[in-house]
């Protein structure tokens, strides 16, 4: 469970996140949605500790991020997995070496077990037999899968995904969404996804937080999404013709 308490963040005097409060439950896939530039990436970076909020706190199963020392933060990070928008695989390493990397850094397992674990994770995301390919040799969808395999290699308690479907075709996007949902349930993780893909919102959004101009404008489940009377949310949700038809 991750609890956000009054998170605020400014850059050069401009407040980008304006006191966001919310709760992400364990075993659930929670989505942060909003227009480009609304502050969702900054919020996610604050949650994972890549940016320090100006005020407020983030509680990881009751543990305060602001109150943690360096060793505690390092330990917490070993419990996190993150899927970046551009996959962020290490170019100089093969897919298997990418997945092995966190294991080599933090796991006390013998080397042979680490390789087995890396190959298990790659098999789990459907990349069996692609172990020795390099990121530049595989498609965008495969890169996302490899990044998911790397993110789950240490059995994380918390999984964060920043725009997991960006740059993917609709079919591959659906497969990635299904994979994230399955893994969340399988590993009982707290998963937080940043997205503006409405298909993901409908299929995965057990909890949805709508960010508008840095503020939490609405939160609820996917069923409540279509009944909401929040004007800004409706503008965002029903922006596409497909969604307008769907609502009719």
């Amino acid at each position: 469970m991750i609890q956000l308490q009054e998170i605020r963040k400014s850059f050069d005097g401009r407040e980008v996140i304006k006191g966001v409060d919310t709760l992400f439950e364990t075993g659930q896939t929670s989505l942060i949605i909003g227009q480009s530039g609304s502050g969702k990436t900054v919020l996610l970076k604050c949650v994972v500790g890549l940016l320090d909020p100006d005020s407020g706190d983030i509680l990881y199963d009751g543990r305060s991020l602001a109150g943690m020392n360096k060793a505690d933060r390092t330990f917490l990070r070993s419990e996190m997995g993150m899927l970046f928008q551009g996959s962020a695989l290490f170019d100089s390493m093969s897919i298997q070496e990418n997945v092995l990397f966190p294991l080599r850094m933090f796991s006390p397992m013998p080397d042979s077990d680490k390789i087995k674990r890396a190959q298990y994770c790659l098999d789990r995301v459907g990349l069996k037999g692609s172990y020795h390919l390099f990121p530049s040799e595989i498609s965008g969808g495969m890169q996302k899968r490899a990044a998911i395999a790397r993110a789950i290699s240490l059995n994380p308690k918390y999984l964060f995904c920043d725009e997991p479907n960006s740059g993917l075709d609709p079919l591959t996007s659906i497969k990635i969404d299904e994979l994230i949902t399955d893994i969340t349930q399988e590993y009982k993780m707290t998963t937080v996804i940043n997205t503006h893909d409405m298909n993901s919102v409908i299929t995965m959004g057990e909890k949805i937080v709508f960010i508008y101009e840095g503020d939490k404008a609405w939160e609820g489940g996917r069923d409540a999404l279509f009944e909401s009377e929040n004007e800004k949310l409706n503008e965002f949700v029903f922006a596409s013709k497909m969604m307008q038809r769907k609502s009719c």
Binding site: R73, F75, M80, F90, M105
Partner: protein
């Protein structure tokens, strides 16, 4: 300027911490020795031979004075190579090759979120990425300097063999005459300092690159320009300290 000095100091503080995995650190350092050091051997060979050859020719052509002994050419070539070329000029050239390589590599990792991925995993990204580069290049630079000295002197020797400007025996006598071994140590000390400047400054510009491909290019240019300026500044300071 104070902003850059402060941020650079903070980055170096993070860089010079104990590696989280020694085995990975040694593996990375070995890779950097190969990439930054060993791969610089061909350019060092070419530049040193040609500069040594040209220096011998020019010295000989400009010292045709009956009052100056014939071996002056070898002596001047040797001392110029030892004192300036094989440390300062070589490092200025390597600042272009190695500095742009480091800045663009780390800069690309920054803009493609690979550094963020390391941070999220709890890896000290500065230590993991930068320390092996600094260590690897500092370890290898003395070999490059000595290699450059040898190649430069050989360049002069080829001129003595292939032209009638100076005889090989006179050239060999000149490069042995009044040899001061401290000049070699002086050159090595300078090169180690310059190697640190090149790797750390270039890493700094790459690490804090922000934006897109254009910004990585800018970071790379800034890395080379600022490393070169610092090399020239420290050349002056070290010469004053070590030779005065």
């Amino acid at each position: 300027m104070f902003y850059h000095v402060g941020r650079y100091s903070q980055l170096m503080y993070r860089t010079f911490s104990i590696p989280q995995r020694w085995k990975l650190f040694f593996k990375q350092t070995w890779k950097e020795i190969e990439k930054l050091g060993a791969d610089s051997l061909p350019i060092t060979l070419i530049i040193s031979i040609f500069i040594g050859a040209v220096m011998t020719m020019q010295t000989q052509m400009n010292t045709e004075n009956p009052l100056l002994p014939r071996y002056t050419t070898g002596l001047v070539t040797r001392d110029t190579l030892l004192l300036e070329f094989c440390s300062s000029i070589l490092c200025l050239i390597l600042a272009g090759k190695v500095g742009s390589n480091i800045a663009s590599e780390i800069g690309t990792m920054r803009i493609t979120e690979q550094i963020d991925a390391l941070d999220i995993m709890g890896v000290n990204s500065a230590n993991y990425l930068i320390l092996p580069k600094i260590t690897g290049f500092i370890v290898f630079i003395p070999f490059l300097v000595v290699y450059s000295m040898f190649c430069g002197l050989m360049g002069g020797y080829f001129i003595s063999l292939s032209t009638d400007l100076i005889t090989p025996a006179t050239y060999i006598y000149g490069i042995q005459y009044w040899f001061i071994s401290w000049y070699v140590y002086y050159s090595l000390i300078k090169a180690v300092v310059f190697a640190f400047i090149i790797t750390s400054v270039s890493s700094y510009y790459g690490y804090y690159a922000y934006g897109g491909a254009l910004d990585v290019g800018k970071a790379s240019t800034n890395a080379v320009v600022n490393s070169s300026i610092l090399i020239l500044l420290f050349n002056l300071i070290l010469t004053k300290l070590l030779l005065s």
